[in-house]
Each structure stands twice: as C-alpha cells, then as structure tokens.
Subunit: 398 residues, 2 copies
Amino acid sequence: MKAVVQKYGGSSVASAEKILNVARQIEKKIKKGYKLIIVVSAMGKTTDGLIKLAKEITSNPNPRELDMLLTTGEQISVSLLSMAIQSFGYKSKSLNAFQAGIKTTENFNEAKIKSFNKKRILTLLKSNDVLVVTGFQGITDEGELTTLGRGGSDTSAVALAAALGFNCEIYSDVAGIYTIDPRLHPGAKKIKNISYDEMLEMASLGAKVLHSRSVEIAKKFGITIYCGSTFSDEEGSYVMAGSKIIEQPSVTGCSIMENQAQVFIKNIPVDYNLIKKLFEKVALEGLNVDMISIINTGNNLEVSFTIVEEKKKHLEAALKKVFRGLGKWQIVYHTGFVKLSVVGIGMRSGIGVAASFFKAMKKIPIKLVTTSEIAISCLIENQYKPEAVKAIAREFKL
Amino acid sequence: MKAVVQKYGGSSVASAEKILNVARQIEKKIKKGYKLIIVVSAMGKTTDGLIKLAKEITSNPNPRELDMLLTTGEQISVSLLSMAIQSFGYKSKSLNAFQAGIKTTENFNEAKIKSFNKKRILTLLKSNDVLVVTGFQGITDEGELTTLGRGGSDTSAVALAAALGFNCEIYSDVAGIYTIDPRLHPGAKKIKNISYDEMLEMASLGAKVLHSRSVEIAKKFGITIYCGSTFSDEEGSYVMAGSKIIEQPSVTGCSIMENQAQVFIKNIPVDYNLIKKLFEKVALEGLNVDMISIINTGNNLEVSFTIVEEKKKHLEAALKKVFRGLGKWQIVYHTGFVKLSVVGIGMRSGIGVAASFFKAMKKIPIKLVTTSEIAISCLIENQYKPEAVKAIAREFKL
C-alpha cells in the first residue's frame, strides 16, 4: 500500500472554501495512487475562541474539562474535510481520538502520545481512499480526553507516520523552512534539506514552522518530514537525518525570538539546593527560560536568565513559592530584547563560525552570548534587530 | 443515593452567563442533598450553525460525518457547564457519548438509544456531586458517533432516568405545559398534571415542549417528567400516567400546527399496492403526513393528506420515484392552513366533546376533520386562527 500522512494547519482549514481547497490538494495525491491519512488542526482561531469561552466561565478552568472542550475543535474540522473529500467522489472517513485509538499519558493539556490503534487504522485505510484524523488530541487508558499542547497536531502527524512507517508531509501557509523568517528578511532563502538537530534549534529558538516534539519524534524514528505550502505547488523543505544531507553549509539559518526579558534574581543565599529548586519549579510550571547564568558574589548568588516578557507574572508567582521565607531576595527585569541565533550542523566541524558571527555583529551592542554545539545566540536590544538580521544574512549568505 | 436527572435546553446554556445561571440552579438541588445527572443540549443556535457550515461544504453531507460534526455541540456545553459547577466548589465531571457508554442503533441522524454504561455512570456519580452528560448523541457498537434527531436531548434525559430509576426534570425557557401556546393565547392556563397520551398528542400536534420520543419512553417505563423553567422558580407541569391523575377535564389542551398544506394526488390507477408503496416511501423519507383520506372515484383513486408546507419539494421528489412510469398522475397543493386540535384523555369517557367542539367552531369554515381516541383535529385557513383559538379556549375553559 502506497500511503502518506499529511497534516494541514488551522489556517489551511479556516473556512469552508479553504477546506474544499485542501480536499483538492488531497485529490491530486489520490490520483497519483496514494492512500492518505490526513491530520488536521482546528479551523482558524477556533481553539483560541474556545479558551476565551472557558475563561468567561472561570479564570482557572479545570484541565480535564478544558481538554474535553478543546478537542471539539479538531472533530469539527475532520468531519467537514471528510465531507469535502466525499463530495469529490472519494471514500473518506473521519476519526476522533477514541476511534483512532490515540492513547496518551494522563497529563491534561500537555499529554504525550503512547500508541495508536494501528490495526484499526490500517483496516479502515484499506477500505477507504482517505482517513481524516483529529490532530492535537488523544485519550487515556480510562477514556479521558487529552490534548498535546499548542502545535500538537504536528506531533500527531509525525507520530502516526512513525507508527505506520509512512512518509509525513506538513502543510501550512508557508512554503517550507527559510534561512530567516521572510517577514523579517524578505530576501531569505528556502532551505532544501535541514537536519533534525538544526530544526530542533530553529524550532525551540522561535522558527514557528514545526512543533519541536514532532521533530524529536521524527529524529527518533528516522522519519523524513516534508514541509510545504497548502496554497501553492512550490517545492518545500525536507527535515531529515543530518547524515543524509550531502552538502552542508556551516550555518543553515538564523532565528529570532522577540519580546525577551532578562531576569536577575539577586541576594540569594549561597545554597545550590535553592537553585535546583528554582529551576525545578520553573520547569514544572512550563516556563521556558534560556541563557542562564549564575554568579557567586561571595556573600550571595545572583541568577539571571531570559524569558518571554508575557510570562513575567507567572514567573514571579512561581518564584515567590520557591523563596518563601527568605527575606532579602530581589527580582529585577530588563525588557525590550530580542534573541538572535545562528544555527548550523556544520558548526560542529566548520571553524571560524564564531569569528564570522562577531565580525558581522561588530557594530551592535551584545548584552549576552550563549552557545550550543550547533548554535550561537545573542541577546540584543529591539532597535538593533533589523541591522543585525541584515548583517548576519550577508555574512552567512542566508 | 438521592439522585435526579435534569435536562437543560439550548436556550438555557446559550452563553457563559446563562451556563453560570444553570450551575446556580444545580447548586440549589445539591444543597437539598441530591446527586445530579445533568443532560444538556448544544449552546443556543450551535447545531444550526454547524449544519450551515456543512452545507457550505456540500449540499448533501454524509450522515455519518454530519453526526461526527453535530456531536461537538453538546461536548462544548457539557465541558463548560462542568467547569461552572466546579467553580462553585462542587465535584463535577462531564461525559460524552463514549464515556457514558450511550449505545444506540446505527441510524445516523436519527438513532435510537439501546443502553447506557450504567455501572460506569453510577460509579462516577458516587465520587462526584454532578455528572454532566451530552444529550442528543450516542455511539454504535463499532464506536461510530450518532445523533438522535432534533430535540433528542429530551430523549437522552428521560432514557437515562429510566435506565437508572431516577426522576427526570426538563428545564427550558417555558415554565411548564400550557393548555394553549401562550404566544397564541396569552390567557392560557398552566396544566399541573398531564397524561403521557395527552402529551404525545400535544407533542406530535405541535406543542414544542417535549420531544415525542421522550414521552414514549417515559410512558413505557412509568417515569414522571417534570417540566419547569430554567429562569424562574415558578411551579411547572408533570407528565405522568393518566391513572395517577385524579381530576381530569375532558379537554386538557389545544395545539396548533402552522404552515400546513393540503396535498391532493389525483388520477392514480385503482391499485392499492401503489397506495401502500406511496405511504411506505413517505415514511422512509421521514415525511410526516396527517389527515389522510383516499377516495375511489370509480376510474381512479384520489389521495389527500396534510404536510408542513416546507416539505413540498421533498415530498414531490419522493412521489416521482413511486409513480415513475405512470403517465397521468397529478399533484395539487392547497396552502395557507393551520391544523387546530383539542386533546384530552377525558374524551374517552366524557361525552359531548365533539358537540362542544363544533358548537365553538360554528362560525369558522372547517376544511377537514379527523379524530383519534383522545383528540379532534380540524384544518382551517390561517385567517381564522385567532378567532378559532379564542372560541375553543372559551368553550373548554383553557
């Protein structure tokens, strides 16, 4: 059986007209002799609308009930897309999490996929041209509905492809992965092939093309992901094992995270157990922090890290619980930053990337620098963003 | 365990504010020591909105996919209502058709309930104050989602009450059952107790308070249904076995069906097998016809019946299939009628109801009359409706 998993994002199915357009894309693949498993997100801004409705009921909706609510979004889009495919004369069936047997862990709002009912899916695929499966959701062993966290439909699609051994194609309103976000740098080039590790750095650093967890699963199971546009036939990008990519520039792309705040926590007693508790709590609350530094001033510890500005209140509430009873600790924010990163698997072997990076950035005041094996990141003030992007693009030919 | 099933209609949960109001009603009952199973419909006009969306995709949506789509409406309202109840400090859990094990037949769009997972529902009820269950929907043995037809949430509630042996309370924006629709006759009286058979005549004849099938189930299992208002504490009406109602007027109520057309099918060969096929087809298409008469003119048969005006096209398409190949048959419509019926279990024993009926209607030209054991119905022109309602109300003290 020649089959493929395709995923279409919320903006691709935002209206009846767009759903019919997606059905036409699917028809092209059917005509090439494929059977398809389609994973879809909720239509347009449906999920945001449902969350807003829940917040009108209570400021703190129960996570279990919230998942019960949110999972309806994808059930709406799968049924409509399935109707559209049928209206073109093909056999299609929509499946929700119960019907596809998408088993997850019990963490409501951020569950992890454990397994699918592969046998049922394959049996149904044999008697249909297309199966349309709800992304973003699953069920626990007890039959409770769960969701995978925002962007989770990518993860659903890649996990399905991995479980069934099919290829995976992710369609959105962007025709692939670019060296730099084209809205920031219109001259950005499309990346034909990118390795899992680079994509993970790009995804976690702010390129919004793919959900990080989906890339982790693809890496684990060796699935190649194709990222293309729902709205054009333009060739997209492939995310694959780095070892398969023959020619590899030292820097593949540049990603930008906006609205960064630098947080300084001062006057912490010299007790590294407190630091451990601090970062445990931050992780538990799902707060993403980066560019961490810890300084021992002799009398005290001073911790600093970056966080997205809108999480300040959330962070402060978490810190109050960790430092309860400690009199002197103090928190200071510096805001108005962006984090700019260059990413490239070629950095591992290539030399001189750091030198080129600092050469390009020579006129820009850098607040902080961190590096990973395949990335260099720096924190700069908002106002320098356009100049920095231009200089980096020129230096690394992005 | 002191427990009750309550059902709230779509207009009772049409907004976050109204959902919180329903939660407050539920709280009153919890404080009286009850455990509650709540059945809710979709919010306001949600179901209509989803049908409209499906029609934008295709004029003829697949019934299985349509049910997949429509069942999301109730899942949204149960999760929101459950959040609201929890926000008042009570233990609540929402359940969809999978979770409550609401098994139905496989007739998509008009399935019939076969059973519930009583054990699971009772176990969950023990550890919660409230369970909020999706009305209108079920699953087949194969895990396909089904719906029970419009108004089906009443049926869900009464069937649940019957299965569990609990009382059943149906709340809507009308505070009970009236002798005549109060919008037509503002002086209409509330009926304190009404028998199943009277309610069935009233429901099928156009009183929109209760779904007929819910009354049939209540009759079968001897469940008393209380019908009250979501928005006031005014005492409502009880639907119960006629034998329990001590004092019974000969006529309990008067119901009106608007937009009636009288259909005449002429020049049918004298072949009663054709008539059988005609009414089989009409039933199969779900077309409700009434006031049937068949005349043998000697050379031909002439069939007439009433149907709601908006079903004319649907009827015509069905007739064409039945009479395919017959040259001469002809269809004629007379439109602009209402059907007025008086209903009363007391008619069985009471005498003179027909005489009183025709006395009241003496100034009104009656097109057609039919009777059942507990009802007299007549077809009159629209223009006579107000006068007829007034005369009937006066005569029978409604």
